[in-house]
């Protein structure tokens, strides 16, 4: 299954790029991600749990960055497996960042392979779930990049505005190159904008 899309983050490309490689931020951007650690420069591992249509999954995964061209391009391959459901997933993601007037334009292509019992559930469930992942990912990534005092909120799949009720991990303020205040001023309406972007790309 191929999914491709694009969105804009009101922050400098290098900052967005750094944020993407930060496991402490990524753990909040990836819906249901319960563990994420960086093993070395290019390898990560973690665990993700989620539920859809009465089906709960709990998958360990390993991710490898296979291409990296700072601060414009990342290609990564993620392999995960839910032992109980006899299913495995392979996600190949290729992501490009370009500086724009508004901050950074991000385009990406994802190729998702889902093998085993979950794979035969049908494309609609997978696509729908991917859409949720995507929505939360973009939302959290934007918050992480543009807010001066970012505190990751709980990944909320069904609410448009995430209000951080419980603060679990405190992340240091964004790097000085990100011009956080300027970015924040352009941040208004970002969600509507990215949803529009998302719809357009489908």
């Amino acid at each position: 299954m191929q999914i491709s899309s694009n969105f804009t983050i009101a922050a400098q490309t290098s900052h967005v790029f750094d944020t993407l490689l930060d496991p402490k931020v990524m753990i909040k951007c990836i819906q249901g991600c319960e563990e994420l650690e960086r093993i070395d420069e290019t390898h990560y591992r973690g665990r993700i749990t989620n539920e859809v249509a009465h089906i709960k999954f709990n998958a360990r995964f390993a991710a490898e960055i296979t291409e990296l061209n700072y601060p414009n391009h990342i290609r990564a391959v993620l392999n995960g497996e839910d032992r109980h459901l006899g299913s495995s997933i392979k996600v190949t993601i290729s992501l490009n960042l370009e500086p724009t007037e508004e901050g950074s334009a991000i385009t990406y292509q994802m190729e998702i392979a889902l093998w085993g019992k979950l794979g035969r559930l049908g494309e609609s469930i997978v696509r729908r779930k991917s859409l949720e992942f995507e929505r939360d990912f973009i939302s959290e990534l934007s918050r992480a990049c543009v807010q001066p005092e970012y505190t990751p909120g709980p990944a909320l799949s069904h609410q448009e505005a995430a209000t951080p009720e419980s603060v679990q991990i405190a992340v240091p303020p964004a790097a000085p190159t990100s011009h956080p205040l300027a970015a924040a001023s352009r941040h208004i309406g970002w969600f509507a904008k990215l949803l529009a972007f998302f719809r357009r790309s489908r």
Binding site: V52, K56, I125, R127, H158
Partner: protein, 282 residues
């Protein structure tokens, strides 16, 4: 492992069982749960079968409402003369569910709790403005149908809640109603587009067309258009325009988003045509 089957004999017992085990699921006719169970992907520890609880399979006509128990079969909604006369659009939608074997086994409560975006009955219930009663150890609450379907395969039901009744208003304002369903592959497949619509006339003048769509967005969706004074072509245009805004189809083996959107538009056009034909014949 297979979930344990539990057979409470009262609603209170059923609610207690559900409150004690967050992985327990309410079991109605079993037509959806058994399929998931056989796929080996269901995470349920037990099935709380509510078929032994007295009263849940009853149907009452109160004059201005139809009170439907959750264990009433889909087949009864299709065939019962009281349902057919009082809420024909609901009866028509229930009549299109799956096949007679499934309709004989599947229940009204299980159908709506399943929360699938392609189900036939919810679109009719949306147009009619039904209310879902849900009971748990915390008591009973009423959920308006338009607040019931929250997201893909997700309903407003909390863990531990059982659908205990569907209350369908019987409106004298409805001058025409229709249910249209299209599958894209074999005739007996899940729909790729369905539409329920009704014209409500108030004071004999103002006319509101309520339209609900199934299989065309992650949940059943609804809209209403004031068609007072409109001719058929004008109304069709207005309703289609509004309908296109609420469609957000999921691509799958049954077709891409654009194809489903097109099928949805045709379902809406056909629905409006049927309404006009019905209204003329009155």
């Amino acid at each position: 492992m297979n979930p344990r089957m539990l057979y409470p004999e009262s609603l209170a017992d059923a609610c207690a069982l559900l409150s004690q085990d967050e992985d327990a699921l309410v079991y109605g006719g079993g037509t959806a749960l058994q399929i998931l169970r056989k796929q080996g992907i269901l995470s349920a520890s037990s099935f709380v079968d509510i078929s032994e609880i007295p009263g849940l399979n009853e149907l009452h006509h109160t004059g201005n409402e139809l009170l439907v128990g959750p264990m009433v079969s889909i087949r009864r909604m299709e065939t019962d003369p009281v349902v057919r006369q009082s809420v024909p659009i609901a009866s028509a939608a229930y009549a299109k569910v799956a096949n007679p074997r499934v309709r004989n086994t599947a229940t009204v409560g299980g159908n709506i709790a399943h929360g699938d975006y392609r189900l036939d009955p919810p679109v009719a219930l949306l147009v009619l403005g039904a209310t879902i009663k849900a009971t748990s150890t915390a008591g009973t609450r009423a959920i308006p149908i338009d607040k019931f379907f929250i997201d893909f395969q997700l309903t407003a039901l909390n863990r531990g809640e059982i659908v205990t009744s569907i209350e369908i208003p019987i409106s004298n304002d409805i001058v025409a109603s229709t249910f249209v369903k299209f599958s894209s592959l074999s005739a007996n497949d899940w729909p790729s587009a369905s539409a329920a619509a009704a014209i409500f006339a108030r004071d004999g003048e103002a006319q509101i067309l309520r339209l609900a769509l199934g299989a065309l967005a992650p949940t059943p969706v609804m809209t209403a258009v004031d068609i007072t004074g409109m001719r058929e072509a004008q109304a069709t245009e207005a309703v289609v325009e509004r309908a296109m805004l609420i469609m957000d189809p999921l691509p799958d083996v049954r077709g891409g988003a654009e194809y489903k959107r097109n099928l949805g538009r045709i379902a809406v056009e056909d629905a409006v045509r049927n309404l006009w034909r019905d209204r003329q014949s009155d």
